[in-house]
Amino acid sequence: MNWRKQHINRKEFLRWAGILALVPFLYFWYSVIRVKSFQDGRKKIEIPLSAIVEGLSFHDQVIINREGNTFLVFSSKCTHLGCNITEKQGGKIICPCHGSQYDYEGNVIKGPATKRLKRLDFLIEEKEKMVVVMR
């Protein structure tokens, strides 16, 4: 660049402006995303006990396998690419997106998924007759 030139031309202005703006812009973007990821932290899902039938039932983002008062709670998010699973068939939980199959304990029977369905922490609120699931 010719420092002694009196005027900066349009192209140069844009290039410098671009380079200088990049740093604050990246920082801005970093901050936005960081805050967003805080907001996306663990969620609490409350499911009334009366909505949880014996055997397997599907709820908002949660699958519950109930045997009397014993509960197994999984995320309904397929571990392959995150599809929401809402159906079972022939004793299996089947992801409709690419056909991964899980058993009622959440273990993979057939890929493409390789990891079992994520177990979720939960507590039973006897008084409110609710299962509170932490997602």
């Binding site: 995303i33 967003k36 006990l49 809402t86 159906e87 997106c97």
Partner: protein, 907 residues
């Protein structure tokens, strides 16, 4: 000249590139009006409202969609054409890079459009796209940057309308130095797209299915992702492909051609995968040959402005177009009211259009048949578990009926092989079922409107839960007699509820074992209605069968209906496959008539289905105590309260009945421990004799399973119907070792002319069976059988009707049986006998394993006690004592008491 160039020259208004440019422009402009009704906070809902209230909006949406597809297709063709003609070298290197990068932006802008419609497929596509990005380092951030927060569409919307669109326009401008296509190309493209948009609807998923499909151009990718557990490999392949495209300008000419051939092969392969994914992937990733209506690429748009709503407050909470014509619609139970579940969740169709034809297209007028139940009553939000149970219920499989029938035809070596009526073929036995039995199963479709009545068979959920009130029935009659049914607008809807009356069961259960008849006290005759005698009580059923009155069941007399005993798990099943119907019964007499306090449960202890039922019956008070049946399921209509008499609440009327404990004699009687309640309290049993089955090739037959007329049919000839005392026999449970005495009926004393069937096998001849079937005929009386009716009755013991002759002359009593019926030529036994007098029946003699007639030792015991009754009145003290302890009474015999002589029975 290559094919693509020829097409371009001959048929298209301009080059591929020019049409792509025109489409891009039309797409961008048609997107602007959509921004007004579209709401990023509720994309799906806002589109739904727009589609029902704004015909121009629908047109613009279609235009936006079809122009985008056109842009994509023509851009690909343009690219292909460039590569084919090797004109890519004419593009400057810098621009070429940006053009290659723009491929990503083109797909991104398309995909974001797909996601922004916000339906179920969109949500899944969003998850997949986000998760795919997250597999690369820093991918989470990229995912956030492109898609924004989960459930939030704002960032994506901005990228769709601004970032990606602007980028594509800039690149296009750089490439062609203009954004304005030629007038001719533009106008022709606009005209074509307008026609397309008027005719065909841009896709949107109208109801929930278990099929998930991404946008059509990514279906190949969806297939590829199915093969790999490491999706990042796919991303790397895509990146390599981009790099290859980028460097293609610099590849030396010879290898360039090979590279292009490889690219072409890959492209065609991908196209194949796309077609596979579009047409052949069905529910839960299974293969299918039917394209679901939701994925019909050319659903008619039906844009006629006069049909649209003028005000979206009329749409109802669920924004369904159905209510435009069908509001108000009354008659529903609370849970099935359209304000709660809409119309389309049961009837499907297209609720997002105000156009009648399109709305009714692929609609299901009678939901609840088992062939559509998974899509209607059984979707994941409604009753998915019940559908699985019902599919396995004995009322759907008819397993026992099929396996016993095949056995008696000699086609199976087991009476107890699990079978499904819907899977039968065309063997002699299966055809027999098709001609005579195969309509009494829940899988039989209900194809006509109307309530469930005497002539109804099957119907899936409707079989039990459909109820017409008077206005609905009248309206239906008017509709059916209307000259213009197409313009008839129904206002009344039958209810779907838990009011399962005996009439619902009657159609099927008034046949075969005829429990529905016997329970009400009626017995079927072989009379024609013209032969009804003047005396006696008779009635004629809708199918013209003539019934005569015998005696009703005590439970019927006290107002009890079938479902007062038969709980939901017994009727709909508990999910298990049962071989015979008695295995699925979840109730026994002792559950109500108990002597020791049974297991009890409160409302919080019972399963959710029972809880729901308690709520629906209005019995969900906090403090109730109900009985847990021996099957383990709660009987929700029982109440036990301290020392008070336990009560049963009738589900239909709410009337309370005391549940009486069994009499002392039932509990403490030595020698009678094996008697079940039914063996004493069953008052009568329908019995039939002389059944013969013959195939008539010339008969006008009917295939009840396929629901169509056929030529030739099995015909059943019945000899005689009688209402008699039940025959008693033994059931020995091999797993528990329990031996019990049950009631039987000559269920299958029949001959089958196997040789008459055209498809007979070699050696098929006349077969004869003498199989008695265990039956609970539901003819209970409060008073049990007396001593004489068992111990002096040859019918009860299994010899058939007749007389036992007692010769008292000698020191011992000689017994002899004189049958009422002549011997059957096939086995030389009296027509109605189960066993020869004082002998064993060494053949299989029951329709169930582990069930049998009395053996000679047991017969002797019964007859021995009977000989006492020859001298002693059954009311004498000594005979009462004998009931308590027979052995004790025997030890007190005087020399005057004679014993029977067993050694030489006279036959």
């Amino acid at each position: 000249m290559n094919l693509l160039s020829k097409i371009e020259k001959r048929f298209l208004p301009g080059t591929y590139g020019a049409i792509a440019l025109a489409s891009l422009l039309i797409c961008a402009v048609s997107g602007i009006p959509l921004a007004f009704p579209f709401d990023v906070s509720e994309p799906f809902e806002s589109l739904k409202v727009m589609m029902l209230t704004n015909p121009a909006g629908v047109f613009f949406r279609n235009m936006h969609y079809w122009s985008a597809q056109s842009f994509l297709v023509f851009t690909i063709l343009h690219f292909w054409d460039h590569l084919y003609r090797s004109t890519e070298d004419n593009v400057k290197k810098g621009i070429w890079i940006r053009l290659v990068v723009s491929i990503f932006f083109i797909f991104f802008v398309m995909l974001s459009g797909f996601i922004l419609k916000g339906d179920a497929d969109s949500m899944q596509a969003r998850m997949i796209f986000g998760s795919l990005l997250a597999t690369i380092p820093g991918g989470k951030w990229i995912s956030y940057s492109l898609l924004g927060k989960e459930g939030d569409f704002q960032i994506l919307y901005v990228h769709h309308i601004a970032t990606a669109t602007i980028f594509i326009f800039i690149i296009t401008y750089e490439h062609v130095r203009t954004v304005w296509p030629r007038m001719k190309v533009f106008l022709i493209s606009l005209g074509m797209l307008a026609i397309f948009s008027f005719l065909f609807q841009a896709p949107i998923q109208t109801h929930i299915t278990n099929i998930v499909k991404g946008p059509w151009y990514f279906l190949g990718l969806q297939e590829i992702l199915h093969w790999t557990s490491h999706p990042w490999i796919v991303l790397i392949c895509l990146l390599l492909l981009m790099i290859l495209l980028f460097y293609i300008q610099q590849i030396p000419n010879k290898s360039k051609l090979t590279t292009k051939h490889i690219l072409a092969a890959l492209f065609i392969f991908y196209l194949g995968l796309t077609i596979t994914g579009y047409f052949f992937r069905g529910e839960n990733w299974s293969w299918t040959w039917n394209v679901t209506e939701a994925y019909n690429p050319f659903r008619p748009a039906g844009i006629y402005p006069e049909n649209y709503f003028t005000d979206n407050t009329d749409l109802g909470k669920l924004n369904e177009g159905c209510l435009l014509c069908h509001e108000p619609m009354i008659g529903f139970s609370k849970s099935h009211d359209p304000s709660a579940i809409g119309c389309a969740s049961c009837h499907l169709g297209n609720p997002f259009t105000p156009n009648k034809n399109e709305a009714h297209h692929s609609m299901i007028s009678i939901p609840g048949n088992l062939n559509n139940a998974a899509k209607t009553c059984g979707t994941s939000q409604c009753h998915p578990d019940i559908i699985t149970r019902v599919n396995n219920s004995i009322m759907t499989t008819n397993s026992g009926m099929v396996s016993v029938d095949r056995f008696i035809f000699g086609e199976s070596d087991s009476l107890s092989k699990f079978s499904r009526i819907t899977e039968i073929g065309h063997s002699a036995a299966d055809e027999h079922l098709r001609n005579l039995c195969a309509h009494c199963h829940l899988g039989k479709n209900k194809d006509e409107f109307g309530s469930i009545g005497q002539l109804s068979r099957g119907g899936g959920c409707n079989a039990c839960h459909l109820n017409y009130n008077q206005p609905t029935a009248t309206e239906l009659a008017n509709y059916l007699s209307s000259n213009e049914p197409d313009t008839f607008l129904a206002r009344n809807h039958p209810a779907l509820n838990i009011e399962v009356s005996d009439d619902h069961c009657f159609g099927c259960h008034s046949r075969s074992g005829r429990i529905s008849l016997s329970y009400q006290g009626w017995h079927e005759t072989l009379l024609d209605k013209s032969e009804i005698p003047d005396t006696g009580t008779y009635k004629i059923l809708e199918d013209q069968r003539v019934l005569t009155y015998v005696h009703e069941d005590i439970h019927h007399a006290s107002g009890m209906t079938c479902t007062d005993c038969h709980i939901s798990y017994g009727v709909m099943g508990d999910g298990n496959n049962y071989l015979h119907k008695e295995e699925q019964v979840m109730i026994s007499c002792e559950d109500c008539h108990f002597s020791n306090t049974p297991d009890l449960a409160g409302i919080d202890d019972v399963d959710e289905e029972s809880k729901k039922l308690l709520e629906l019956y209005g019995w969900d008070e906090e403090k109730i105590s109900m009985i847990i049946a021996s099957s383990g399921y709660p009987m929700i209509n029982t109440r036990v309260c301290g020392a008070n008499t336990p009560m049963l609440i009738l589900k239909k009327t709410g009337k309370m009945l005391p549940m009486k404990a069994p009499a002392e004699v039932c509990l403490n009687s030595k020698g009678h421990e094996s008697l079940t309640c039914g063996s004493c309290h069953t008052r009568w049993t329908p019995q039939c004799l002389g059944c013969h089955n013959q195939y008539d090739k010339a008969a006008d037959g009917y295939d009840l399973l396929a629901n169509q007329p056929v030529e030739g049919s099995w015909v059943e000839f019945a000899g005689k119907y009688m209402a008699l005392d039940p025959v008693l026999g033994i059931h020995e449970n091999p797993s528990t070792g329990v031996r019990e005495i049950l009631t039987f009926t000559p269920g299958m004393v029949l001959s089958i002319a196997l040789e008459s069937y055209p498809g007979r096998r070699a050696n098929d001849d006349m077969v004869f069976h003498r199989l008695f079937a265990p039956i609970d005929p539901h003819t209970t009386s409060a008073k049990g059988r007396d001593c004489i009716s068992c111990h002096l009755d040859p019918l009860m013991t299994g010899y058939g009707q007749g007389k036992i002759h007692y010769d008292m002359k000698g020191s011992k009593i000689k017994l002899n049986f004189i049958p009422a019926y002549a011997s059957n030529k096939h086995d030389d036994l009296p027509e109605d006998a189960w066993i020869p007098f004082l002998k064993d029946n060494d053949k299989l003699s029951s329709t169930r394993y582990h069930h049998r007639p009395f053996n000679p030792e047991e017969q002797k015991n019964i007859l021995f006690a009977g000989t006492c009754l020859l001298c002693h009145d059954q009311e004498e003290v000594i005979m009462k004592e004998a009931i308590d302890d027979f052995e004790l009474v025997l030890s007190k015999r005087t020399p005057a008491c004679k014993e029977p002589q067993w050694a030489e029975p006279h036959l």
